[in-house]
């Protein structure tokens, strides 16, 4: 028995106390947020959520997955063993051996952390994060020495050295949560997984926005404390890995948005302070140091510039990439709701569009009776209140766009060729209000939804079919909360079903150009539907050359979230970047499945691949041309 052992025991219990104290301190900040359901039993969900959901994301980067497994696994094992052997003052040599093993694992992991941080990619944060490999290694080395060297043999100098290393490592591990250091993520991350503000996402793809109570005293989020407490906790879980930053189309286009910085700004808001110390990439075009926040201060514009808020396309690429399962888009929409509903402060053409919606139920201010003018010669059945049909076709706002009318006509041709029993609402169709909702105008969204739900309840139909993923998403995922329950199908899914059952007879395409497929965010990431359009293209003999960012990880065309309306300038345009992606595959044709993507990608000037809807490609490959 040696006094060093007792010192370690003392250090252990001091560390436990510091951790508990720090966590309580941080929890005070979270609890300043608005109410949300709370149940301790949710802590039991953490292992599964960590091993399944977090791992699923982290595993995309095998290097860091391995690294984290070694460091965190080693550290947790070592700390547990130290708790046993030293915390309970057992001082067994056998346990010391086990501690050595865990420390070796952790040391190996620390080495990998060090390797990565020698030439860090730009998305990583520097600052305190750069000291992590050293403090972690110090902790591991301290434990290693403690376990390997019989304490009786240690000179006073060596013992002091070991204690110093352990002290440095322990300080890093337990003080982070109280002081906002890098290791804050360990505590906040675990609690965030347990009390996640969108817990449904662990059971299924969950992307619908929460309805806002329009009678609430505060509409949306003005100050950090207007966020629900578990949202604040979620911000604190961020590890500043910058995966969201690397995925963000607005950041890539040089617009003043960086989802990582956005989350860190929310952390500043909940804890107070200035962004001068931020050690990652700033918002493009906005220098660091000019913004600061506090829990009870309005977030705009002291902490966050309006341009940042309105640059987001709500593409959810950041959410898809975030290993800590943070919900950036929900936070952005909460902020937009306040700006729109309580301040009316929307940039660009957004206010005009919202006025149009309120007055004409179309985004462009069109005469609703003109919505189906493109189909005047197609003999479509227009359903009337009281009638019934199997498939109800909703064209959406794209119906007013002369380019997209070609796609819609192709879709109708396919439906007629497959003898589908379908009808349109014609002039009764009104906008879903989806874009209003992304812009934070929940009042207009709910009014539009109520109008459309009333129209739909006057007719009987089996399914709703639409070619617009935004209509699809809002009807399928967001209308149920407002009382509209429908079976909704995107045209690619519906057509894939028809083709599979043989009802739709497709031949081979005559298209010989190289083709790539651009996933609409609201079909792919929002609804997980990436296979149906590809299956259809395969069926007509297209061999797709996939872009690097495709499927669930596709890159936005720039058209979501009302971004074309708010039109925040950057150094380039998002659709230009996406067309460059397509060019890189050598494709001369980009297949699309959304009116928004069509408009954005076709808006790219200069020589570019042709942009054609999947329905148009299929219609041209119909076996028997009607």
């Amino acid at each position: 028995m040696h006094s060093l052992d007792h010192l370690v025991t003392l250090l252990f219990w001091l560390a436990v106390a510091a951790l508990a104290f720090g966590t309580m301190r941080r929890a005070r900040l979270w609890r300043a947020g608005a109410a949300a359901p709370f149940n301790w039993a949710q802590l039991l969900t953490v292992p599964r959520r960590y091993l399944v959901d977090v791992h699923h994301v982290v595993a995309r980067d095998p290097y860091i997955a391995r690294t984290h497994m070694l460091v965190a696994g080693g550290a947790v094992a070592a700390v547990a063993l130290v708790a046993l052997n030293y915390g309970l003052a057992l001082y067994w040599a056998l346990l010391n051996g086990a501690i050595v093993l865990a420390a070796v694992v952790m040391l190996g992991g620390s080495y990998l952390v060090w390797q990565r941080r020698r030439a860090p990619m730009p998305r990583l944060s520097a600052g305190p994060w750069n000291r992590l490999p050293y403090t972690l290694a110090a902790f591991a080395l301290g434990l290693l020495a403690l376990g390997l060297l019989p304490s009786a043999l240690l000179s006073g100098f060596f013992a002091a050295l070991i204690m110093l290393a352990l002290l440095a490592g322990t300080a890093e591990l337990v003080l982070g949560i109280g002081t906002g250091g890098p290791m804050k993520h360990a505590v906040a991350g675990v609690l965030h997984l347990a009390f996640h503000p969108r817990a449904e996402r662990f059971a299924m793809r969950s992307t619908a926005l929460r309805p806002l109570d329009l009678a609430a005293p505060v509409l949306g989020v003005e100050k950090p404390t207007d966020f629900r407490w578990n949202q604040l906790l979620g911000f604190d879980a961020c590890v500043q890995c910058g995966k969201c930053e690397a995925a963000c189309p607005a950041f890539a286009a040089g617009q003043p948005l960086n989802p990582k910085k956005f989350i860190q700004d929310m952390v500043l808001g909940l804890s107070g302070g200035s962004d001068a110390q931020f050690a990652g990439s700033p918002y493009p075009g906005i220098a660091l140091g000019g913004h600061s926040g506090a829990p009870e201060e309005p977030i705009l514009s002291a902490l966050l510039a309006p341009e940042t808020l309105w640059s987001c396309t709500t593409c959810r690429a950041c959410v898809e990439e975030c290993p800590m399962q943070i919900e950036h888009v929900d936070a952005i929409i909460d902020l937009r709701r306040f700006q729109t509903l309580a301040r009316g402060a929307l940039p660009g053409k957004a206010p005009e569009m919202l006025g149009n919606l309120r007055e004409t139920a179309t985004q462009g201010g069109y005469d609703n009776a003109a919505r189906y003018h493109w189909a005047v010669d197609l003999n479509l059945r227009q359903i009337r209140p009281g009638e019934s049909v199997d498939v109800l076709l909703l064209a959406g706002e794209g119906a007013f766009d002369m380019r997209y009318q070609r796609s819609l006509r192709a879709l109708v041709k396919l439906l007629q060729a497959a003898s589908v029993d379908f009808a349109i609402l014609g002039a009764l169709e009104t906008d879903t209000g989806d874009t209003a909702r992304r812009l934070g105008d929940e009042a207009t969204f709910q009014a539009q939804a109520a109008q459309l739900i009333a129209t739909l309840s006057a007719v009987t139909f089996g399914r709703i079919l639409t070619a617009d993923p935004h209509v699809f998403h809002s009807l399928k995922n967001e209308y149920p909360a407002l009382g509209g329950h429908y079976t909704v199908l995107h045209h690619t899914v519906f057509l894939a079903g028809l083709a599979r059952s043989g009802q739709l007879k497709l031949g081979a395409t005559s298209e010989t150009r190289a083709i790539t497929y651009h996933d609409p965010c609201y079909l792919g990431r929002y609804n997980g539907e990436t296979e149906a359009p590809r299956a259809l293209l395969r069926q007509i003999g297209v061999r797709l050359s996939e872009m690097e960012r495709s499927g669930l990880r596709g890159r936005c065309c720039g058209g979501g979230g009302g971004a074309p309306l708010t039109d925040i300038p950057g150094t380039q345009r998002i659709p230009d970047i996406r067309i460059a992606d397509a060019r890189a595959t050598g494709a001369a044709l980009v297949a699309v499945a959304c009116p928004g993507c069509t408009a954005m990608l076709e808006g790219v000037v200069g020589p570019r691949p042709e942009v054609i809807d999947v329905a148009e490609l299929l219609a041209a490959a119909l076996e028997v041309q009607p």
């Binding site: 009678a215 301040r343 009316g344 006025g355 201010g365 005469d367």
Partner: protein, 254 residues
């Protein structure tokens, strides 16, 4: 500076969306309301007619309340309005209603009834002691600054450079107030017929100066038909380039 107790009234009507015909806040009256709110914290917002739901839009645009002076349909709004705003320092309204007769006469008739000066086509209004200075719209990009003494009636031009904000929260907070019913005189019968307006945009085209062969070649060429691409410079310089082009081609006359 004017004392804060300046009494300002904004007169608002129910407009209609040109595409759908849906009732709404008349755009021009929204500008008048917004201008009034820019001059004083408290503004009496008055509407002669029904307590139509579309009036709630004015609440969203910043009116704390809209006072409705009930009026049978087809009755003349002049008498009730003139009675209500007597004693006000400044009465603002849109230049022309979007629905009904839309004769644009209200401001003039009101000023005559109240024996006040009237200024129409106002773009900007600023208070200077017991006078107001008004930047007035004139055709062809010209502007005129006029001053009138208070009290006065001012009609806002539809192109007044204002940026009214539609705020749901203030719509929710505001109220429609009903004044006791008035018996208005019927409007003089209108000799007019109504038919849908047709908007005919005019395209400005530079006169053709090329000779036959060049024109034929131009018809099959895909490259630019002339003109210049201005990328550099400030917005003012770019605007200058456009103005120069329009002038050089005699597309505008000033």
């Amino acid at each position: 500076m004017m004392p804060p107790q300046l009494k300002i009234a904004a007169l608002v009507s129910v407009g209609r969306n040109p595409a759908s015909g849906a009732p709404r806040a008349a755009r021009n009256d929204v500008l008048a309301l917004d201008a009034a709110l820019g001059l004083a914290r408290e503004v009496s917002v008055l509407h002669a007619g029904d307590a139509a739901p579309a009036l709630h839009d004015y609440l969203a645009y910043g009116a704390a309340s809209v006072e409705v002076l009930p009026l049978p349909p087809g009755a003349d709004a002049l008498a009730p309005l003139a009675g209500r705003v007597a004693g006000y320092d400044l009465i603002l309204c849109g230049q022309r209603a979007e629905a009904g007769q839309g004769s644009g006469m209200l401001a003039y008739r009101l000023a005559k009834a109240l024996n006040m000066p009237v200024v129409s086509a106002a773009l900007e209004i600023s208070l200077l002691g017991d006078e107001v200075e008004i930047v007035q719209f004139l055709p062809k990009g010209q502007r005129r600054v006029v001053r009138v003494s208070l009290p006065a009636v001012i009609a806002l031009h539809p192109l007044a450079p204002r940026n009214p904000r539609y705020v749901y929260a203030s719509r929710r907070a505001g109220r429609l107030l009903s004044a006791p019913a008035q018996v208005g005189a019927p409007l003089p019968a209108s000799p007019w017929q109504s038919e849908p307006a047709v908007k005919k945009p005019q395209k400005l085209k530079p006169p053709e100066t090329r000779q036959g062969h060049a024109r034929l070649l131009g018809a099959i060429a895909t490259e630019s038909k002339g003109g210049a691409l201005v990328r550099e410079g400030s917005a003012a310089e770019k605007a200058r380039a456009i103005l120069d082009y329009l002038r050089a081609n005699r597309l505008i006359g000033f």
